[in-house]
Symmetry: D2
Subunit: 286 residues, 4 copies
């Protein structure tokens, strides 16, 4: 019985690619963190240090920057697909190329009620994400976001749960519900959706936020499912929505020792531990 190479992949992680479009005085900026990963037959470099089939990660990085100019960045999805195609074509031993893009949003600085032509402020409110795989059976495109921090001050309860001898949590009729949302939605094939990738991102993000706001929550699980279902109902080209959501606990502070009533007004925001809810919402193909 010998020892052999199993699953493997390699690439360049977190190239910080900033693309400015300055064809007119009103500049556009796309601010990306790009990771590329190649999968294929790279056994020789592992077993013998024979690198003849290995496109260096440095070259992958160069290509990521060159492609920002040669192909351009009309959307992170479109750029990722093009970059993946190029890396796959450049590497005969590769069977698939995976490209992950984080887009950091900027908005124009307001000057006298108008967005400035070339001055920007980093927007916050989460990072837009893309994960693309190109290869024989693909492309696969998952658009998404992460670190979108949302909170409801009411409209959330948690009751009727399983109790054992280690349960001390009281039922909550009215609690703060907060999470830092990571979500991804998988598109059928790799075709650009109606209105383009950017408009589709805005639509899905608004739907996730709106559903979080307006749905009464009996559990974070229920809220996530409702958010995913809303997206699948509204966007026929999306086949699956997945979530990873920490339940960022806000504990009611006991002010009774000081003779103060605390009727849902003062909370301590906890760092750790946190609940962790992961769920995928899919279409029922049966």
């Amino acid at each position: 019985m010998g020892i052999v190479l199993g699953a493997n992949r390699y690439g360049k992680a977190e190239s910080r690619v900033v693309r400015v479009v300055r064809d007119t005085p009103r500049h556009v900026i796309r601010d990306l963190t790009v990771t590329t990963l190649l999968t294929g037959d790279f056994a020789a470099t592992h077993t013998d240090g024979d690198n003849r089939d290995v496109l260096p990660t440095d070259t992958q990085k160069n290509t990521a920057f060159a492609w920002a100019k040669e192909h351009g960045v009309t959307s992170p999805e479109d750029y990722a697909l093009a970059l993946g195609d190029r890396l796959l074509a450049a590497t005969p031993a590769a069977t698939a190329a995976r490209v992950l893009v984080d887009e950091h949003a900027w908005e124009r600085i307001d000057v006298d009620g108008t967005g400035h032509d070339h001055a920007f402020v980093r927007r916050g409110q989460g990072v837009r994400t893309v994960e693309v795989v190109v290869g024989d059976d693909w492309p696969s495109v998952v658009s998404g976001l992460r670190d979108l921090v949302v909170l409801k001050t009411t409209g959330s309860e948690f009751r009727g749960f399983l109790v054992d001898e280690y349960t001390t949590l009281p039922e909550a009729d009215d609690r703060i519900l907060a999470t830092s949302l990571t979500a991804g939605w998988r598109w059928t094939g790799g075709e650009e959706p109606d209105g383009g990738w950017d408009a589709a991102y805005d639509r899905v993000r608004a739907l996730l936020l709106g559903t979080f706001a307006t749905s009464y929550s009996k559990a974070l699980q229920q809220t996530l499912f409702a958010m995913g279902a809303a997206v699948l109902e509204a966007e026929p080209a999306i086949v699956e929505v997945s979530f990873s959501a920490p339940n960022k606990h806000h504990h009611l502070v006991d002010l009774a020792p000081f003779g103060i009533e605390n009727d849902g007004e003062v909370f301590v925001a906890a760092d750790r531990p946190y609940g962790l809810i992961e769920a995928t919402v899919v279409r029922d193909d049966t």
Copy 2:
């Protein structure tokens, strides 16, 4: 020659105080990280472990939460002043109490064009800060912000600098200028400014952003000075503006090896090292 205690202070750092105002269905949230520090005659606890003059940091934390309800949080400045007064009064050995507050901004989730009553999304775009000191010769109030990330894609040069034998930097006629701004503005005395603390914060922040956007930059130093001067001109109750600003370098990528011209369109955003510019702008009292 003996060994004695020099400067010292102690307190509780980073209590995560969340205050919800729910008197009407339209809730308000103030999300604070609160640090309190006491200065005074605390030699006995250092030299002998005699804690009789020490208000425990746990009690300081309790007071921070209780005060969020008892006094309320109409603004971080007002809350910090009240909390400082309380801690000073509760601790006879203390000669001064310092309260630092970070406020994390939330905005209402948009539902059908209207901000929701009780659902919020974390806003990003920097953290609002307050540093208050109360004691004999005070109060002192410094309002500010940190981690406000801004960027200009043009309107910035860096030329005519000192050159020595270790200089390799070429002059730049047109570069990206970016920074993650930390700024503080000191108010005369501790009186609430015209329109209140919240409105004053909005005014100063808008002025900082607007000046960054519209002033041509020959050096980040010049831009910071212009921003500080604009604030001092507009707000007579502010006596000093100080800045700490990393010059977040965006290097033009050399695409010439690939036969691609790069006329200010593709940059790599660098993490480290970064330039660090610290400057204070003050009124000339002569």
Copy 3:
């Protein structure tokens, strides 16, 4: 075609469990970060907010602390297995329980050449990790480590790689090789290895470090494969070793403009981008 729940799991992440054994004056400390996740039939909570099958994450946390005392922590593996069994038993709807433990190492403070009985200093040099799954077809135990930062100042080259029109990287005959190692090794079944879990961890860690040190590297891939093979050869109860290893680039600084030769003596340690190598080494069952 309806919308249904797909893959899902939930639990409590990052409980900071510290266990002190103080039966004798020579105390022992086990400092753990514990995450538990349950998988099973939890559809009702997602679709209807019906929580009757849900053991709250708060209860999972309570159990993690209680088990540190009731079962004890002779090793993170043993503790994780016991905790997983308990959570599975307490939750009829669960089909599997996953327990992840990070152990933060402390060593005794040296006093006059002897380790102190009850004073410790945090050790660094990586975090020990355990991932256990208990359920019908298990237990599965993967021991490992992460953030073990290693570096070689010579004995590493990178040559003979694939070249395309975007390649600018020169071949390197003698470079710095550095990585922050994450590794996991899967044990056959869940039985305690010879000498116990702690001794096995020390053996594998020493073997990984020793192989990194003594093997000449033609590619980081080759080094990882050699490290994995060494572990599989030495430990018959391990069936698989997997690695995730950033290639932390150290670029030779060009001092020629200053008339200084740099023969492998001055480097800049880069943050991003970094190479990312992921590989699994397995036994060949054919």
Copy 4:
């Protein structure tokens, strides 16, 4: 009344300088993060964008790398002093140069009981720090460390403190005491101490750790004072020791609801809030 420039300084932060000494097969590595800051008459760049007196931060970075070779790094203190002298000499408008160095420790990988010649593992256990200022009235040298995480499982109490109506903390007869220590010790003048900078660092670090271990603690303040006094007593060339020490709370977990006694055996390590103790120990010159 005009608006003028107040205090200001500028420089390059966090250059990652790695110096390898490879004159013999037994390599030595010094792994530094270097920040340089210049103070002086730099008003023109702030008010007019006139950069003629400004040595670019890029040049400061180049010099930091060049000096690692030209001057060498026998210790971070010696290197920082030499680099500061150079930057001051190169910048006529500067009146002082401040150099901050973090040194990241590596130790040799053990192979068959011997440290390897050129393979290293990052050590952890805190970062060594140096802050040097050179100028007219200097040099000033402060050696130090940060992020040295230490913990005692017994030998610590906290009692007899001031109580008010917001106090809920019970007295503790036997608690865990833990901190992540930052300390700095100021040397008389800039002269190298007996045995050299590296040996002096080792002596002070051992003394800090040993005093933490062996002194009974009635308050973290008392422990810090004892640590500082021990250093001043042992090292006549040190004039001052300053500390910044978070009290990293380890709360005893209440296991009584589960019928389990917890006699100082199970704790939860809290992230925030934390106590913050800052103190300076000095010689009494009266």
